[in-house]
């Protein structure tokens, strides 16, 4: 059976194991095996814990045919750094890349909402004077367009769900897309 790597800051939820189980169950309904990152299956008390998690996650990514990345903004206006790294890694390896965000807002609006913006020489800048990217996209253009090229457009709800971190409707839409794409191997060309 085809395996999919399930990336996301979900691993930082107090009920991460339950979320991982629900995600894997949704995958199996579509005939796919969902691989949830190892963060919760490693002995965190050992000195090598973080390195073991890294190597476990990399091995799972190498084995998987696709990634579904939870790109919901995390501690700032952009997606979780670990998840974004993994999306890049899978794109680099020519795997099918899918992603969703439970916050449909545009990146520039999200930065503006934080309040720390100004206008300098006609450009919107943040408190450090760095320009705010504004292409009307929900996050940095590299993330958004890699999904367009290596998979499908970012999946977002029209309105943020009541529980931003536990609503799996957008995730399930990605699973359905993955099942459809992965059942047509001849259509998928490696980059």
């Amino acid at each position: 059976m085809t395996t999919i790597y399930l990336a996301g800051p979900d691993v930082f939820l107090p009920d991460a194991i339950d979320i991982g189980r629900r995600k894997a169950e949704l995958c199996s309904r579509y005939g796919l095996i969902g691989l949830f990152p190892l963060d919760n299956a490693v002995d965190l008390a050992t000195a090598d814990a973080s390195r073991n998690i890294f190597h476990g996650n990399q091995a799972m990514m190498n084995d998987a045919s696709a990634i579904i990345a939870n790109l919901t903004p995390f501690r700032g206006p952009s997606a979780d750094a670990g998840t974004v790294y993994e999306l890049g890694y899978m794109a680099g390896r020519g795997k099918l890349c899918l992603g969703y965000s439970n916050d449909p807002a545009i990146y520039a609006e999200r930065v503006a909402r934080s309040g720390d913006i100004a206008t300098q020489n006609g450009a919107t800048v943040d408190a450090h004077g760095l320009i705010v990217e504004d292409f009307g996209l929900p996050d940095n253009l590299m993330l958004i367009h890699t999904l367009d090229l290596h998979g499908c457009a970012l999946v977002t709800p029209r309105q943020p769900p009541a529980d931003l971190w536990r609503d799996l409707a957008a995730f399930e839409a990605c699973v359905a897309l993955a099942a459809e794409r992965l059942s047509q191997p001849a259509v998928r060309s490696s980059s």
Copy 2:
């Protein structure tokens, strides 16, 4: 000559072109060609601007032998999403991965500094109840350990420099490491 992709939120500085020129000059002193992302060389008025930037950056990454990623925290406790994506992409393609951060603080300390943390069931959590990763590392473990595996350990100064966004001492240390590594092709195995 060997080319290196110079990733970083430097492209969002108002003086990005000058920073890119200084970075490329430092590379040439070490016998390398530094490729600065295209963001400033694309006509931003066209409807396809963001897509053109993406394709230009991906083509530069595909051509380059290595990446030097500026992982200085950007609009939150982690590195810039676009830069992190590019680091992952280059790791996925088995390229030499180097990175630096001009902020040497530990990730968990940086989140704590933002003030929105609490303790729940013995774990440190943020305002949304998500656990704060704390392995004593400067950023998410995937970023830090991919540098260990695919290149060299993250380069950081002992103290943040006076100008976090324009001091290039840590960048130059990465260029020196890249020059050393890339002059020994037999030592480098693709992953």
